[in-house]
Amino acid sequence: MELKSNIPDGPLEQKWDKHRFDMKLVNPANKRKYKVIVVGSGLAGAAAAASMAELGYEVECFCYQDSPRRAHSIAAQGGINAAKNYRNDGDSIRRLFYDTIKGGDFRAREANVYRLAQVSVNIIDQCVAQGVPFAREYGGLLDNRSFGGAQVSRTFYAKGQTGQQLLIGAYQALERQIGLGKVKMHTRHEMQELIVVDGKARGIVTRDMVTGEIESHMADAVCLGTGGYGNAFYLATYAKGCNGTAIWRAYKKGAAFGNPCYTQIHPTCIPVTGDHQSKLTLMSESLRNDGRVWVPKKAEDCGKKPSEIKEEDRDYYLERKYPSFGNLAPRDISSRAAKQVCDAGLGVGPGGRGVYLDFQDAINRLGASTVAAKYGNLFEMYERITDDNPYKTPMRIYPAVHYTMGGLWVDYNLMSTIPGLFVLGEANFSDHGANRLGASALMQGLADGYFVIPYTIGNYLAGHKPDKMNADQPEAKAAAAAVQDRIGKLLAVNGKSTPTDFHRELGKVMWEHCGMARNEKGLEKALELIPEIKERFWKDVKVGGSGDELNQSLELAGRVADFIELGELMCMDALQRRESCGGHFREEWQEDGEAKRDDENFAHVAAWEYKGEGQKPVRHTEQLSFENVHLATRSYK
């Protein structure tokens, strides 16, 4: 397998400009002859579908939810970065580029990240034009805040619902195209298989989740904007329906999987309360702007009420360890620090898995009403879930899986190793390296959807003759038959354990051995346990119901089957990456408790190639070259 990144030559600042000129164009009159399938309707998918339809391509869009407006991009709270420099505080495209590539621990491509910083400014313009109600100042101009440890104020936000508002903007643009008949929307359809004909991606097989019907849809190109695979951990901040099936099917059809082990653990989530827990809820990172994180200094204090613990008996460990960033240290660092104090027996709350996030100082300094104006809705949400009042008693938080930086490998044009298969947003591996900065996920999803794919897809399609291929192709029939077969198998097992039982079991293994801290022994153990879970799954799963009806248990079973395999690949990748970087922390590679990168041996992307059932996948590498930044040690001390 050859990994050609197709990064344009020339100076960093001019690569995207030059590339846009060099790319081939499709004649406007011919665009309608091409059909493009978009899977997923989140920020990346909806933006791509709407933008490509506006250009004139015939677009079909698929999502598993009942409406494209429900994609999980909607849950992003904090904001979206853009190098607008509206604050006059020294921001620039180059600074956003640098912060992002440094934040990713130098494991992303320079050219991609630079392009992301460049188009970030257009995203804000586009969203405002669509009517996204970003926060404003009294003069009527856009407001910004500093977010996720950035030292400039470049984050645009809409209350605590930025993701929702951006998604609604993209959704409305998409619905407009649906109304005009330019996009055909298929809701409650789940992609089950990729159709590859003559080495090119030519369609997908879907299951109609209401009728159970298996359908083949053909096109000239396929775009996946299906999000991340963090639900492999069972407990995560993802929506319950988020799954890795689309990218996993594509992987099994030959698309390389980039850096599967890079997962982001978000430091401020509400801790687990018991085995019944079905998901974890994130509390916006913006809380760390005013909240102080601490644990008791003495283990015997952990059971006390926080108000009974004296000031001198509290350890504000982030402020102690990282004096210059303090409570705003990046996500991976803060998460790991929380794990360390809890591992040392200083955690609070059920199971000792929690740390305090305390607003008392902020309330004393700013007054309760100011704090309420800033965080009122978040406090209310916290109280709703935990029944604790954060104005009176500190919040309890603990890290949780939040984002996956890994995903299908793509070149500079966002095309995977299968020609004609494009991957956008969180589903690809591209821009965040080993760790994503706050407020960058929305930026990347929209950048890919609005401002990258509309250009690069033309470049691909210009070299491809539209042929209105139909679903009678043997490859399409075989793919549909494989889906039928798989569903039949899931239903036929009729064992004793539910899909959720297996999912929970997998999640425990993943969290234990491939979570915030990983080591060789643990990963090897996971690689023994996971194949065993897989074997048991196919012998003992109980799905219930039939395939030709709305069957949520069957939907989950299919997803869990894929998560088990994907989890195995994540562990393999984590085992092979013998260094610590960003969200991937190998205990063997650390210096004073901080991640220790190995730039000499691991300044590369690991891209895994599927070799068939029962075969070991092959790890390929794409060397990352850094010509514009110096590979510094990431220090937030």
Partner: protein, 260 residues
């Protein structure tokens, strides 16, 4: 403090859109007060699956109150009795040991039941497709700060835009009217300068689609506002009425040519 509850669920079961459906009772034993309402249903469903029966089907996704997927009528009230709360954010500590909980789907002809508690809300999407947007093709935007927007208007637009499209307003309305949903969108876009060029056509087209979908009419009961998990205000309905009235009085029919 965590407690454990024994509950009886009276659940609407309906195999598909054609099935007439009916209530069926389930026991939910040892339910922790720390669970969310949907986690309680998960527990009940695990038991049902293990018995070899079809689990209770309900829409849900983010489980943090923002995606708008979940929604069921709990004890006669959409999303349950707690104010400004989606079903997924409702916790079992709101219930008492021995409670009988009735669960029904949204009831509206524009939201046909697909199975059990899960309904088809695509009529909302079609209303948006009819006019709930600003036509701003990708790439055509000017600099974001070219157009100052009074903070008050931006904030009010944001309040209206907070709608999650869950459909509780329709479910709560004695007339199954969608005016709050449509009003929220008309206000969100109509309060912004970018939304002005299409303000007339938006009101006309969205209302025409709303009527065509078979929603009821607004008789100003206020149940929609009271059941809205995001607290969308009735003021938005007045604004929709105003926009629609104005648009009806002033719009110019499209003519072949020469009209002015």
């Amino acid at each position: 403090m965590e407690k454990h509850l024994n509950l009886t669920l009276q659940v609407w079961r309906q195999k598909n859109a054609q099935d007439p459906g009916g209530f069926k009772n389930y026991e939910a034993k040892g339910i922790s007060t720390e669970m969310s309402f949907l986690e309680m249903l998960d527990v009940v469903n695990e038991g049902i699956i293990k018995k070899g029966e079809a689990p209770i089907t309900f829409d849900h996704d983010c489980r943090e109150g923002i995606c708008g997927a979940c929604g069921m009528v709990i004890n006669g009230r959409p999303h349950g009795l707690r104010e400004r709360t989606t079903a997924c954010q409702l916790h079992m500590r709101s219930f008492n040991d021995g409670d009988v909980i009735t669960l029904e789907p949204w009831r509206a002809s524009a939201f046909p039941v697909l199975r059990d508690l899960l309904v088809d809300r695509s009529s909302f999407d079609r209303i948006i497709a009819a006019g709930g947007f600003i036509s701003a093709p990708t790439g055509s935007a000017q600099d974001a700060n070219c157009l100052p927007i009074p903070k008050d208007n931006a904030d009010r637009a944001m309040d209206a835009a907070a709608c999650i499209g869950c459909g509780a307003c329709v479910a709560a309305c004695p007339n199954a009217s969608a005016m709050l949903f449509v009003g929220a969108k008309v206000s969100h876009l109509g309060l912004l300068p970018q939304g002005q060029p299409e303000r007339t056509s938006r009101a006309l087209d969205m209302v025409a689609q709303m009527d065509a979908e078979g929603f009821g009419t607004c008789t100003n009961h206020g149940e929609c506002e009271a059941s809205c998990p995001k607290g969308i205000s009735l003021d938005n309905i007045a604004m929709l009425n105003r926009d629609y009235l104005k648009a009806s009085l002033t719009y110019r029919p499209e003519v072949e040519s020469g009209g002015f």
